[in-house]
């Protein structure tokens, strides 16, 4: 996978949900979308990139918040 694509796509998702006034709902929305629509390899790669320290600074705050909060459910088995 191209990690740049994954970061761009994650930020697009974040840009949609961050407009919601209910912040908790928005954060859940981001995580839920990643969980329901991203194939495990895509999630795994994004998580690895975050863990490696490269992706975090490029990701929107709401995306990082969603990933940090829902890390367990986003991590493929």
């Amino acid at each position: 996978m191209h990690v740049e694509s994954l970061i761009r796509m994650a930020n697009q998702i974040g840009a949609f949900f961050e407009a919601m006034p209910d912040h908790a709902e928005a954060v859940d929305g981001v995580a839920n979308h990643l969980k329901k629509f991203w194939e495990p390899r895509m999630r795994r790669e994004l998580l690895a990139e975050i863990d490696g320290g490269d992706a975090g600074p490029q990701l929107k705050g709401i995306v990082m918040e969603a990933i940090n909060l829902h890390r367990a459910s986003l991590t493929p088995h």
Partner: protein, 955 residues
């Protein structure tokens, strides 16, 4: 011989009225709705009144004078077609006096008509001939030596039909069909008296006139004046089969008139509910591709794409594919392969492909070409309304008062529905068009849009939110509807959002290019003009905010109370014939049939129990993800049925590079398409004429596809998938598509009531079709939304990353035109090329002049993804700064330019916005030169194919 080909012609259209009148015709009591003509009432009473200028698809005209009748208490002989039935009337349709008068009329007609019935192409299907018989014409007192039109020159310019003036009786049916049925107004009667003749345009040949070759005039003609060339060549059919068109999402019903297993002509079926007897140039005439010499009829294999193809038996090809798929899974993992199905396939076929992927491959790596067109519709409507489908039937438009067309070009993309829409507009409905281009429907004969919001590409969401802003802040919302039907929390949040000043038309005008005043007027009209119906197309979905825009449309419909009854609704115009069906059938990597997420254990259990396998609860790869995974080395094998991803998907060079990384690409198609040039196994596909099944059109209407000829390569597509599943060790045992549909119905709640028996009985049915709605559901969300309360969702405008720059100062948007279809694999192999033989770049005169470009000049179009070269058309349909092209010809490379930018929710590509530069050039682009070389090599490898009888060992 031909009786079964004929349908009852009631002479005049059906009238609807709550009042009925009872009268007596030839001694028979008959009761009809008020407004019904005497002619139609007579048919109801079992009596056919002689007629020539009347037919039930057209308003009565009263010119031929054959249908005259006698009415007690009335003088003269009124025409039964133009005389409404009245209570207590006593009508006689057959008397000696009437017979004499009719015979006299026929004498006049026949005195100027060639008496070549035995060699006439309409012999056996000619109303003039029939009327001569009915009126008892035995001689013509005037002789045949007077002035006549016998030697008039034929117009054979149209590739599909001939106009022979010598046989014209000037009944005006063709002219009226062009006006009333098609709405093009291309025909008129020129001259007077003896000189009266049908005239296309300004007395031009058909091909030089505005005629769009829909065939309505040919269908309406009672003689051989306008006749299909196929009938002239082959003669009349001897049996017919009702089937469904394989082109756009309108899903027209056709009567395939046959001689044995040869199609004589395709006639629009007037009982087909999607099209009610109308057609377009594609469905009516462009079916010759099915028997084109380019059809690939032998299975083929090769180890590498640089090897020559080898023709093998079906078993060898399928076994080779299966062994390769298993080898790849053993080497690279279970998720290293997947499948793609197509909206050009039947429901049964797409169901089988997703079943094969889930049950035999053991993953969810299945996707369909709806990914690149209407996947945002599925997502957006599911979130807001609760179901991934449009809300209405097509007929609903007849009751619309304000029609908003957003990002759709129905006269080209969905022409038969466009005709229906235009009819409603001519009857007084108002039109709002939201489109960057001045598409035909903005201003066409007797139609003028009340508002054309000519927005900048990529700003849909800003416009839809601004429309909502006006409605909410000016107090035009349907408060009672919203309070009763919608979720109050989400509405409150959304109302606050859209009311912000930043979402006003004045604030968004700079970005959208839409004058605030015009947008305000459009919003007011939509909110207050009565029934408001929204129709939209790929100009909505194919954006980075495609899903957001779909939700914005649903918001607008809900806030104005325009959901849940006839005449309103959210209506996605689906691009291909079975976009809706392929989505319904679980072709997406995250959904099982019936839009149930794979993570839902209950839904999985249903299928696991029926299929005897464990289903992966994680979503699979979407098409663009497959390409990315291939380039990363994690996706190695693909089963691609009926889809040409190399031509139709964006960023061609990226797609081609991904294809080159795969070790086993299996293509199942009619032709050796662009994708097949990268394939290792080719499995011959079957056209819609060669198989049974069903298609589901844009209005959720499930219609039968019926086999009219045997599969040319021996197997129908569903049989090939069954064979592949069995070779993979997963048993599939179906005797027919009917059994596949029975399984779909058993496992899918919205399809529980669907069966081939029901389709036979009803003709077609709109899902949901189950115990709650045994005859189907024309209008959805009537009393409540499928999700319970309608959910308003905030639609923040996020400008696309695809922005104009100094280097790329123009925006390219792509689309299609009337005569060609999608990647053109079908229509390019027909005479439709006479209308459109190459993709052109449309450019505004201002942009053209700045660059020194004239119509027909070669221009290079360059984006950050690639470059291609096309010829230019300078056109004021474009706005300055925006250029447009179609993608019907592979050598055009339209998708070499489009980028990997995609919808945030679904990855639907942003075909509609690509920043480009356009400059005059002298030679094809580097890509085009390489494409020519690669295509030539692949053709040579095909030409060098050998027929081997031993199988190739797996690698």
């Amino acid at each position: 011989m031909l009786n079964h080909l004929n349908e009852t012609d009631y002479g005049t259209p059906k009238r609807e009225s709550e009042q009925e009148v009872t009268l007596e015709i030839d001694g028979n009591q008959v009761t009809v709705p008020k407004g019904t003509s005497l002619m139609r009432a007579a048919v109801d009473a079992g009596i056919q009144v002689p007629k020539l200028c009347a037919t039930d698809s057209l308003e009565p005209f009263g010119s031929c004078r054959l249908c005259m009748v006698e009415i007690d208490g009335r003088k003269g002989f009124p025409a039964s077609c133009t005389t409404p039935a009245e209570a207590g009337m006593k009508v006689r349709t057959q008397t000696p006096r009437l017979q004499e008068l009719r015979k006299g009329v026929m004498e006049l007609y026949i005195s100027d008509h060639p008496l070549d019935c035995l060699t006439c192409s309409a012999n056996g299907n000619c109303e003039l001939q029939d009327m001569a018989g009915v009126t008892g014409l035995r001689n013509v007192r005037y002789g045949f030596d007077g002035a006549n039109h016998i030697h008039s020159k034929k117009d054979e310019s149209n590739p599909y039909f001939t106009y022979d003036p010598s046989k014209c009786i000037v009944c005006n049916r063709c002219v009226r069909a062009c006006e009333e049925t098609q709405g093009t107004f291309a025909l008129t009667i020129s001259g007077r008296g003896f000189d009266s003749r049908v005239s296309p345009g300004q007395d031009e040949p058909f091909m030089e006139s505005e005629c769009v070759s829909c065939g309505a005039c040919v269908e309406a003609c009672p003689t051989a004046t306008l006749q299909e060339k196929s009938v002239i060549w082959l003669g009349q059919g001897e049996h017919s089969v009702i089937t469904t068109c394989a082109y756009c999402g309108v899903g027209c019903s056709f009567k395939a008139e046959m001689k044995g297993s040869e199609v004589v002509r395709m006639v629009p079926w007037k009982d087909g509910k999607a099209n009610e007897g109308h057609s377009c140039v594609k469905g009516r005439f462009a079916w010759g591709y099915a028997t084109h010499k380019d059809r690939m009829l032998k299975p083929m294999i090769r180890k590498q794409i640089t090897d020559p193809w080898q023709e093998v038996s079906w078993d060898e090809a399928v076994n080779y594919a299966a062994s390769e798929f298993r080898r790849l899974q053993a080497k690279y993992g279970q998720d290293s392969i997947g499948g793609i199905t197509s909206s050009r396939c039947t429901n049964e076929e797409t169901y089988l492909v997703q079943k094969l992927v889930r049950a035999a491959f053991g993953n969810n790596n299945v996707d369909t070409c709806a990914r690149v067109c209407h996947s945002p519709t599925g997502y957006g409507l599911k979130q807001t309304l609760g179901e991934s489908a449009g809300t209405q039937d097509f007929k609903s438009v007849d009751k619309a008062d304000v029609i908003m067309v957003i990002g759709a070009n129905p006269t080209d993309g969905h022409p038969v529905f466009a005709s229906r829409m235009k009819k409603r507009l001519r009857a007084g409905a108002k039109l709002i068009v939201v489109d960057p281009r001045r598409i035909e429907i903005v201003k066409s004969p007797h139609i003028q849009a009340a508002h054309h919001l000519q927005l900048r590409p990529g700003t849909n969401v800003a416009v839809i939110t601004a429309l909502a802003h006006v409605i909410v802040t000016e107090g035009l919302a349907a408060d009672a509807f919203v309070a009763e039907r919608c979720d109050s929390k989400s509405f409150g949040e959304w109302r606050e959002f859209v009311s912000r000043a930043e979402n006003s038309p004045e604030a968004t005008q700079a970005a959208t290019g839409v004058p605030a005043d015009e947008l305000r007027k459009a919003a007011r009209l939509f909110a207050t003009g009565g029934n408001g119906a929204i129709y939209y197309g790929l100009g909505v979905t194919e954006h980075s905010q495609g899903s957001t825009m779909v939700m914005g449309i649903a918001n607008l419909a809900m806030v104005t109370g325009n959901v849940g009854r006839e005449g309103v609704g959210v209506n996605p115009l689906r691009g291909q014939n079975n976009v809706q069906g392929s989505c319904d059938m679980g072709s997406f990597p995250h959904e099982l049939p019936g839009y149930r997420h794979v993570s839902d254990a209950t839904s999985r259990a249903t299928f696991e129990s029926a299929w005897g396998v464990t289903i992966n609860p994680e979503p699979g790869l979407r098409i663009p993800n497959m390409f990315d995974a291939a380039l990363s080395g994690g996706f190695k094998g693909l089963y691609c049925e009926g889809e040409d991803i190399v031509q139709s998907d964006p960023n061609t060079q990226h797609v081609a590079a991904a294809m080159m990384q795969m070790e086993c690409v299996v293509v199942q198609d009619l032709f050796l398409n662009e994708t097949a040039k990268y394939a290792h196994v080719f499995l011959p596909g079957s056209s819609f004429l060669e198989k049974d099944g069903t298609f589901t059109n844009a209005e959720r209407r499930i219609s039968r596809v019926r086999k009219v000829m045997p599969p040319k390569a021996g197997l129908a597509d569903w049989e090939v998938t069954v064979k592949l599943a069995n070779a993979l060790g997963y048993p599939m045992n179906y005797a027919s598509p009917k059994e596949i549909m029975a399984e779909i119905a058993a496992l899918t709640p919205t399809f529980h009531g669907v069966s081939y028996e029901k389709l036979e009985k009803l003709g077609s049915v709109q899902w949901p079709c189950n115990d709650a709605a045994p005859d189907g559901t024309p209008t959805m969300h009537i009393d409540h939304f499928v999700r319970g309360k309608g959910k308003f969702i905030i639609t923040q405008y996020v400008p696309t990353d695809e922005k104009v720059t100094r280097k790329f100062p123009l925006l390219l948007t792509t689309g299609r035109i009337l005569s060609q279809y999608n990647v053109g694999a079908q229509t390019r192999r027909t005479e439709n090329n006479q209308w459109h033989s190459e993709d052109r770049l449309e450019i505004h005169p201002h942009d053209a002049e700045e660059r020194g470009i004239k119509t027909d000049d070669w221009v290079g179009i360059q984006s950050r993804a690639g470059e291609t070269v096309l010829r230019a058309i300078v056109s004021e349909r474009m706005q300055p700064g925006v250029v447009y092209t179609t993608f019907h010809f592979p050598e055009s490379g339209a998708n070499v330019i489009t980028t990997d930018s995609s919808d945030w929710a679904t990855n639907c590509p942003e075909y509609k916005v690509t920043a480009v530069q356009v400059m005059p050039v002298m030679q094809p682009s580097t890509w085009q030169q390489e494409y020519s070389r690669f295509s030539r090599v692949q053709q040579e490898l095909l030409d060098a194919r050998a027929n081997v009888h031993e199988s190739i060992p797996a690698k």
